[in-house]
Amino acid sequence: MDDGQQRMAPAEIAKGVIDQLLADKGRPPAGLDQDLGEAGLSSLDIVNLMLALEDALDIALPPDELTAANFRTAKSIETMLARVV
């Protein structure tokens, strides 16, 4: 991870990862409160998102945080990351 990324907040990194996944599918960025499924992410994209977040933040998400509610919107992901990072 370079210096620039280390200064980014986890929430910003998460938003970047989500929007990149959406962009890969030709979808526009998600609003903070938008349901990610409705934004265009499939169930496997959500698994991909979990793994990408772990890579980008160099963390292992605690099993208790791997819930549908935590991964429903960008906002709920930010809230969860604030607890675990």
Partner: protein, 300 residues
């Protein structure tokens, strides 16, 4: 043993998915989903192996060769509930098998249901085995399949026998589906939340429509006497575990040499997901070495 930590995490991640317990998805989504999961779970390509795509007997095939001189050849039949899975989903599995066994591997892109119901897949695989033996003339020929692909491979053994074609020299089964009806305890114990969702499986079976006839006996009913020596791998937390073990017992009773491996703490399809379940690397590498030993042994 308890469920492997990495496998438990993956199951938990999959369970967060919207519609995880909803209706079975349409065929296209089903295929995309397996492709997506396989991509997520794959390691970087194994540089010890080269591959070449070709069309033979009307089917797309991918031939993998390791850099060693090799005597053996494995025809590999991919899983994916018959409906899903293709050359890409099992690319990593085939590469590792080729690298670790030293054998060449031919992956078969068989015709899938629902567009091509039973026995299209079985006939295609049988044709490829015949073609490979005739054309490539390997010293040793193995037939391998995982999950639903193992069911297809076992049906192909039956069809080879009815056609009067020589049987392969060995069979490799990874987490095989042997029986269509859910009669064994593991189907109940691991019915929900262990990678195979029941509605999905029911839909896959409905699409596949396996119906035996005089020339093609289903593996659950087949006479196993004279079957090739078999390497059989099952996962502890797999709905299909018990039918795999029962098949091993039937092989033994029929006098067929069989080596059975139960992977503790593992789930269905683990071997194809090394990035998500690191134990897959150890297990698949060992499987490749077992094939190497099987091919090195004198033919019976």
């Amino acid at each position: 043993m308890t469920l492997d930590v990495a496998a438990a995490r993956l199951l938990k991640m999959l369970a967060t998915a919207p519609n995880a317990d909803g209706a079975a998805p349409a065929v296209r989504s089903r295929r995309e989903a397996l492709r997506g999961l396989s991509t997520l779970g794959a390691d970087p390509l194994d540089a010890r192996v080269t591959s070449q795509d070709m069309v033979q007997v009307g089917l797309s095939l991918r031939l993998y060769r390791s850099s060693e001189p090799k005597a053996g050849l494995i025809v590999f039949v991919h899983g994916g509930g018959w409906v899903a899975g293709d050359l890409e989903t099992h690319d990593g599995v085939c590469r590792t098998l080729a690298a670790e066994s030293g054998a060449a591997v031919i992956a078969v892109d068989y015709l899938r249901p629902p567009e091509h119901p039973f026995p299209a897949a079985v006939e295609g695989v049988t044709d490829v085995v015949d073609w490979a033996r005739r054309t490539l003339r390997p010293d040793h020929l193995g037939l391998a399949g995982d999950s639903a692909g193992a069911h297809v491979a076992l049906c192909a053994l039956s069809l080879l026998r009815s056609r009067g074609s020589p049987a392969p020299d060995m069979v490799l089964l990874l987490c095989p589906i042997v029986e269509i009806e859910p009669a064994r305890p593991s189907r109940t114990t691991f019915r929900q939340g262990y990678f195979i969702e029941p509605r999905q499986f029911d839909q896959d079976v409905a699409d596949y429509r396996p119906t035996p006839d005089a020339a093609l006996t289903l593996p659950s009913k087949a006479d196993l006497s004279g079957h090739p020596p078999t390497l059989l791998h099952v996962a502890e937390y797999d709905p299909f575990r018990d039918e795999g073990l029962a098949y091993a017992a039937r092989l033994e009773a029929a006098g067929v040499p069989v080596q059975t491996f139960v992977h503790s703490g593992m789930i269905h399809y683990f071997y194809a997901l090394p990035r998500l379940i690191p134990y897959a690397r150890t297990a698949l590498a060992e499987t490749g070495r077992q094939v190497r030993s099987a091919f090195a042994a004198p033919k019976s």
